[in-house]
Amino acid sequence: MNIIETQHLTRRFGRMEAVHDLNLAVPTGSVFALLGPNGAGKSTTIKVLMNLLAPTTGTARVMDVDSRQLGERQLAQIGYVSENQQLPLWMTVRQLLNYCRPFYPTWDRDLESTLLARFALPEHQKLSRLSRGMLMKAALLSSLAYRPKLLVLDEPFSGLDAVVRDEFIRGVLEVSERGEWTVLVSSHDIEEVERLCDHVALIDGGRLRLSEPAEALQARFRRVEVTAASAEVRPQPAWVEWERAGALTRFVETRYAGGPTEAAWRGHFGEVRIVAHPMTLREIFMALARSGTASLATEATA
């Protein structure tokens, strides 16, 4: 069951195509990271999902409702925090919470108090006098306190220092432990969301490059080091970041499947020393970003 689905979603701004033929599925209950460099189309995709922008072609469904038809009932179950979101700066934190509360029948005052304390937000301070990190935490608090079924975070960590980012993530994790919900978080930096996500998608140039569970992704990527490999060996399509330095040959295997893959390496390199290291999500995305990922996109969507 998917809480978000897009079908051939395209969004153009004049001649510029920000999102192209996007087919994305966010499973219910997942913490889904939408990754990609700046200008990749992440925010545009999220704005279409939140009905802030209309699709040029294709459709997007959120909580089984066409995004164009999202109404008060659905939005009362969705939390949306964006890096560019404007807040009523003339309000205090307390006034912001008091203002938001009546819109949400599921508002949890205990959770509000807990998060208020965890985020160390000054209740009676005007929002205009808060730092950017505090503002983001206030926005997150006002989007978490009603236990939304879907939390959409659009580049929530931009410009936040490590301490605030950690508090932010701990806040999200704390709430996620308390119930069934889905988190869609976009970021240009995998490191920011690595601790959070269990599912990742990579978008670049408005096109989806890959989308799969983080565990599966990490399972099929290995950094391989081969000592004293023959100079005649040529890189295979599934190998990226191929490099030779003296006797050492390095590459990233993108279709690692355990024994069969290792047997295939022996077939190519012969009886030499081959070491395969597991990779972090960050390393995988760096490798994909450097090498180009066109060939993987087909695989991912298939």
């Binding site: 008060e72 949306y80 560019n84 404007q86 807040l87 938001c100 819109f103």
Partner: protein
Amino acid sequence: MWLVFVLVMTLGFRSASLPIRGDAGRTAVDWIMALSTWTQLIMVMQFVVGYLLAGALALEDPILSTTAFWQGRPIGRRRLFVAKLIAAAVLFVIAPALALTPAWLAFGFSFGDVVAAARDVMMWQACVIVPGMALGSLTANLRQFLLCSIAVFGAYFVAAAYGVSASLIPAPVFDVLRSRNFIVQFALLPAMSVILAHQYLSHRYRFGWALVALWLGATAMTRVAWPWNIMPPGPPGWPSATVSAGRHEDVVMSAILLAQNSVAVTVTLSQPTGADTFLAPFAGRGELRWDDGTAAVVTLWRGANWAETAAAQLVKREGGTRAVPWQMQVSLPADVVTRWQSRPAIFTGDLLLADGRARVVGEMALEPGAQIRAGSNRVRLLSAQASDGRLRMLLEERQAFASWDRPHFDSRGNLARVHRNADAYLLADRPGGTMKFVPASDAGEAAMNGFQLTLRHLDISSEWRGENPSAPEGGAMVKVTFEPARYWRRTITIERLPLATEEKQP
């Protein structure tokens, strides 16, 4: 701050006063003209700031933005629209009226005056607030809002300008021009209301701008090419069904030919009235027919000195004791006037009648500084100067003002305005028991948020001096109001009433 500005400026206007002097020189006219200009500037500022605030209110939660706080929250389009309307109404329409109410009451406004002034203030504010919010809803930020406001209303004033069409097309008949003016002016608020509602309920800003373009185009086309007269032939409120409420012999009409093809018609009604109530003809419509078979359609209007006889009778305690003549005016083409000069005409048509109550407001000595107070109405004699057999006086008059409370009559190019209170000033020479009506021409007037200030020159001729050799020492000025009933009461249908004419003596 805006509300404080409105209140302070209005009270400042109410307190402005010309010093009492012994002459009625040019400075009085200069003063009232300067005050009028200042008042208009302040009112423009009040409206412009109100317009900008309304736009800012819309931009507080912009519709076009994708980063506004309310977006992504469970706030539906209709809920946001209603919330904005309530906020705009409370902040910019109701609040000014409420803030001004204590001032109105403090200066003697009656309940009716307060209601009329509040309605006036609120209507004008609404005329500014709705366009401000409409443009605010079509733009994403304050800069866009300002630029678009200048562009849209610049285009509107060009499209609505009188000179544009005059240079492009032959001037149509007057009634069609009036119809065009009416449509162009009165379509602004409904058009902006539609655009505002559409924008909030649909969020389709391209279509919203298309509506703006359509409105501007329709304004220009109306100004240039609207071919029909949509204005009613008579004054507003003319009963659809004619009720015969009088006998033919109750009415006597006579006409005096004046300069420039205008005709004053005196209608004398022998309807019995009370001590201070009069049955007054407000308007008339019908046909003049001559014995050679030619005919002309005429419309009669309340004349400039319409209530003078009634007022005089009231002061003389003669109300209701005899038939009262009422001055009506009519403008006719030159050939009709010429025809009328040579032979009597037969009038067939309707007279629109209303009951009216006359009231002596007060009496004051002819001395500078003397004044009459009655409710919100205060008349002060600023100067009285006798020389060369004439008495020149300057009066300062303050009263409640509501522009929307004044029905406007138009007919064949002559504009007649019916004030809520038809005023008359009379000089009463009590020792001799004689009096003379004094036409009170305006030296100038200014109005702001329910208050009106008028300076009137009164110039008493030598004829009056001859009749009143002891004046001004023995004279007094009496102010009389004649207030017609708010709604038209009845009509009299007149059939074939001979209407002889007489030339006015130079």
